[in-house]
Amino acid sequence: MMKFLTSLFLGTALLVAPAQAQNQPLRIEITEGVIEPLPFAAPNFVPDTPAAAEYSAQLARVVAADLSGTGLFREIGSDAYISQVSSFEAPVQFADWKAINAQALVTGAVNVSGNQLTVRFRIWDVFSGAELGNGLQFAGTTDGWRRMAHKVADQVYSRITGETGYFDSRVAFVSESGPKNQRRKRLAIMDYDGANVQYLTDSSAIVLAPRFSPTGDRVLYTSYESGTPRIYVLDVGRVQRRVLQSQEGTMSFAPRFSPDGQTVLYSLAQGGNTDLWSMNIGSGQSARLTNAPSIETAPSYSPDGSQIVFESDRSGTPQLYIMPARGGEARRISFGKGRYGTPVWSPRGDYIAFTKQNKGRFHIGVMRTDGSEERLLTASFLDEGPTWAPNGRVIMFTRETQGASGRSALYSVDISGRNLRPVRTPDGGSDPAWSPLQ
């Protein structure tokens, strides 16, 4: 057990150490510094019933993909196995797993009765021969089998890293198709790993930048369906939406929920000038938070709801500022070279993710809430619009490629700058919004 835990904790410490060791902005190359991922095995879950057989491999595959996808774990494939797990209750042959250097072992069983599916699992520290935490059981309907696999993986991740998991979560995004000058956009939602895509609007109107409510049941987004940009709130379960009240002759966009889900922060353009407003979503009562001739947009609350980070060009170029949630004096926090936008407060409260544009390149970066310890995590022709995984360790964003055939896609990256990966979507994708853990 000790050895098992130590090896991954060491990895986590390495991930964080460079940032804490330096006060200067640090550019982390994706390819630099490789952490040795923790080897694990996830043999097919044991089917308790004949009907469970079809899920036995699929469950284990999703668990393994979740863990491998973090870059912190490395799966040992079944072709290396010396022994098989044919009974969930039988003693684990630790020597056989040690021999192939699997440090962690996930065993599971699956039972299907009618449309009810039950998953049991255990996590083993192979080298100490001890169980890591207690076995657990999840039950639900068969069409929710992927969620159960994600829940198992969340448990593994959480028990081994000490961090909350993020696999049982969803992503709202804009599905894109067609060339740049005729791009068709549809609001869509999917599991965090790209499975179970569901479309929430058709492509008849431009839709932009969905944002989840704190409980994940509603999504705010901007749509041109009335002819001008206006903010809509959509009930995800019922796929019903309504427009937020707005004054005639104004345009509103860049909405975001408050942590209590009661208030919507947004940008309102009136007479060519864009300022920040808030609206109580129940009463429709709105309040102006900024009043300046400069552009104020892309607001995001701190997790405790007391402050707002936003983007403003009041200094001449777009930069990041923090002000009290009710408005008032703002302090600038971005001072590096270039232009900063789309700040998003981490759900942990420790970092602010942002888009940075400098010398013709775009970056996703993070900084402390006082602007210190700026780190750029990515670089490309056009990266923008970061969103945080519910555990505040991973960021998803939009990457658009250059030129006439340019295409947008979703990517994710660790806050360490490691493990940059494309996120699978059926067509192009942009403006991801990561849900809370379900």
Binding site: E89, R120, R122, N134, L136, Q137, F138, A139, G140, D143, G144, R147, K151, P179, K180, N181, R186, Q198, Y199, L200, D202, S204, A205, I206, L208, A209, Y224, E225, S226, G227, T228, P229, V236, G237, R238, V239, R241, G249, M251, F253, S267, A269, G272, N273, T274, I295, T297, D313, P318, R339, G341, T342, T355, Q357, F381, E384, E400, G403, A404, D431
Partner: protein
Amino acid sequence: MNLLGKIAAPIALVALAACSNTDPSAWGSGGAGGAGAGGAGAGVASDPTSPAYFQQAIGDRVLFSVDQSTLTAEAQTILQGQADWLLRNVDFTATIEGHADEQGTREYNLALGARRANAAREFLISRGVAGNRLKTVTYGKERPIEICSEEACYAKNRRAVTVLTGATTG
């Protein structure tokens, strides 16, 4: 070994099934497909009262520098022509679309497009066009007219386009 008894956590499954049966087209309509194209019937450019003449002979768009919404001398000349035309052809209304190039975040470009559309609108109003004939909308970087990723294209995308929307006899 009493595994089952330890923790049973049933999953409350999100009701997805209902959604996939919904026909999205039933509640989506309108929107901005052809931003930049003339809204009203085009007519022929030889007819000085036609939208086609407005688009081609007068010029329906003005261009901006990076991050700017200031009207250049050239832009003011075009807008003066638009104002004169609108004052002669009082049956038309217009929506001025503000656009940005792709070098900027989505949100900032929406705000920038709003600034540009408003700059054109204010100029037309200053030349006597009634404000209630002129709407604005920002498209940010959502509807580029040129799609290369070079300044030659960006320069054409940083624009305010006056789209005639009013009643016309064609």
